[in-house]
Amino acid sequence: MNAKTTILNLPEEEFVHPGSRACSGCGLSIAYRIGLKAFGKKTLLVVPPSCLTVLQGLYPVAATKLSCINVTFASAGAAATGVLGALRAQKRDDITVAAWAGDGGTGDIGIQALSGAAERGENFVYVCYDNEGYMNTGVQRSGTTPFGAITTNTPIKGKQQEKKDVPAIMAAHGIGYVTTCSASYPLDLFDKIKKAKEISGTKYIHIHIPCPPGWGFDTKDTVKMGRLAVETGLFDLYEIIDGKFSLTGPSLKISEGKKQKLRPVKEYYNAQTRFSILDDSRIDYVQEQINRKWKEYFKK
């Protein structure tokens, strides 16, 4: 693997203009800003509706410096396929194609087109930024909203179903590269996108994105919240390369005992108002699940 990127050698060039319409403290803005540095200039983006649509600017001003087509909600995977097809037809192979979609546009309405593209092995990087809900339309539940979260359409009881494991679904397609990242670890994200660009076929990158208004925490705590998700063992950072699973970055360090021990999930739940109705028994249950999962990790 390449030497890890540091803050000091991360490319200086910015591909996102300041003054976007993203919320103050937006986790997506961090991931997108650093992510585009990894993709670089010679990239064509495909974006279905999401907070990113707004972040990227309203006609006729683009907040991004990369070329992008906005496409319908269900079609990111297929649209990326079309861009690739046109590039092949024009014998151009020096351009990276990337789709950047939200969790709804990926795991819910977009999963058919994404699955089709992955099955065909289309040569592109698919980035799912998972802020765990339909934030752009005002915080409704999505397939990746965690159990118990209050959203505007689970307003009283919270979501009654578990979070959909989209990276596992993508891994089941047998694609060459599946990885999880977090907005709170932008250098790790940068390196993984760089790596994905070098692998042929479909690559899937799933980024955990804290959302201050959607999750209910202060804007200053965005990075802290994403870090807490990793440090409690709730959201693990890993890579699946050619079917082989391995923890990466801070998750790997925790499993190796090099860093601090797992923090209690209670810290994460208590820090967000969306979990305000969760009772202790549920939190204990989740803690048990995490302990069991991590027992396996520690063995390896």
Partner: protein
């Protein structure tokens, strides 16, 4: 002058800053860097720049010392929260007004 003069017939956006306007006006608190504590400023060498890395809006420079573009800084406070030296303080915007600041 009608919009036909713009010469386009599709929704074709070109890159430019400030799509959301001067988002500096969104701030209720502003980050202020204490150069006595700021690592690169203190060491006069390229170091740290955690604030630059995490700034969602890219309004902090990776310079010695780091500079904040208040025209667009939304005042989220992530830089202050993440600064390992505790060099950035979030200051009430209104106090600035009271002091007749810029």
């Amino acid at each position: 002058m009608g919009t036909r003069e713009c010469g386009r017939f599709t929704s074709h956006s070109e890159s430019g800053p400030g799509d959301g306007g001067r988002t500096g006006s969104w701030r209720v608190v502003r980050p202020v860097i204490n150069l006595d504590l700021c690592i690169p400023a203190k060491k006069k060498t390229k170091a740290c720049f955690v604030c630059w890395l995490y700034c969602p809006d890219g309004v902090i420079t990776r310079e010695i010392p780091p500079a904040i573009d208040y025209e667009y800084c939304k005042g989220c406070g992530i830089c202050a929260e993440e600064c390992p030296a505790g060099a950035i303080k979030m200051v009430d915007e209104t106090s600035d007004i009271k002091e007749g600041g810029k």
